[in-house]
Symmetry: C3
Subunit: 138 residues, 3 copies
């Protein structure tokens, strides 16, 4: 059994979903494991991770719109140190995932055909986000 | 240290929760590990996974009703390729889990007395869903 | 490769977030691993886990208030065996996490500077909650 670790840097362009499936798949392939478990961990509380449909781009728009409605910006939060998008960012992170785990079978992640791995940026401004990746298996 | 992997197929009956704890527990027991980590991964973006209370059936009804309200069907989505239940299915998946991880102590999953493992189907029609299972330990 | 497991008991003081990062970090350090994966699992369906910002206490208040609004107590649930905070507790658990996974690099959890590990109690009364911890690596 062995393990491998790395950190991925993703430059978000402000609010919305960034597909980074390709980067994950490429790194996993380099490790040459046949069977195992991949874990992704987002080192931030105002961005999060999501596995979502990778075909229709409207899904990403609808998703972003939805979280804008369900955890709206506004003046009703006690915490607004970094502006009106600060607290809603934490709420949206709480409603989605800080980490993801994906098994590896036959040398490939078991992602379904329509599944992509996304960084969900919750702040208005672009941010540099770091994702820790850990793989264990053989 | 060793690992084991398999794929479970679950036939959903349309929207709602299907308890498949028994299938998971049976497979884990067959692997005869004492200590380890189980990961379940749902290979779909319109169904998801949930650990929830397994005693009162009303909990499942209330849960389904709640997600019907909080991410309702409607004509306000850009994405509706597969009908009005398409986009809400993605939202409900985003709000719950694509994967679950459960440690194994003394040969048993550490599930609490009232915890069951559920597939949460978000589409109206019945679907055949596949769940990847990975176990590592010794 | 080796693994270690333990159970942590946390006394909640009723609804709200309890930071237990310190307990987790202390236990992980004692295991003296350099690289690996930590998994935390909450053995309850009316409490959950969350990684959130650990600096401003207002974030915890806003978070608690938000979940009070988005999954409110009320008389519109079929399930109320244990009172009006029973079903909302399950909903809030479904919207957050039953488990968390955090990789370990260079002998330390990869938590970001502002990330803390929280137990999110959803019941009004104080409860004794148990969290299973599993660590694998070397």
């Amino acid at each position: 059994m062995r393990q491998a670790s790395t950190t991925l840097t993703i430059e978000s362009r402000g609010k919305g979903l960034t597909d980074f499936t390709r980067d994950v798949v490429a790194w996993v392939r380099e490790q040459r494991l046949e069977e195992g478990l991949l874990t992704l961990f987002c080192r931030h509380t105002s961005a999060s991770l999501l596995i979502q449909e990778n075909a229709a781009p409207e899904v990403r728009t609808d998703l972003a719109d939805y979280f804008e409605r369900i955890a709206p910006e506004g003046d009703h939060y006690a915490h607004d140190d970094e502006g009106p998008d600060d607290m809603p960012a934490h709420l949206r992170a709480a409603l989605t995932q800080t980490h993801l785990a994906i098994p590896l079978f036959d040398g490939r992640l078991v992602l379904g055909t329509w599944q992509g791995i996304y960084l969900f940026e919750h702040r208005r401004r672009p941010h540099r986000r770091t994702i820790a990746m850990h793989l264990i298996g053989e």
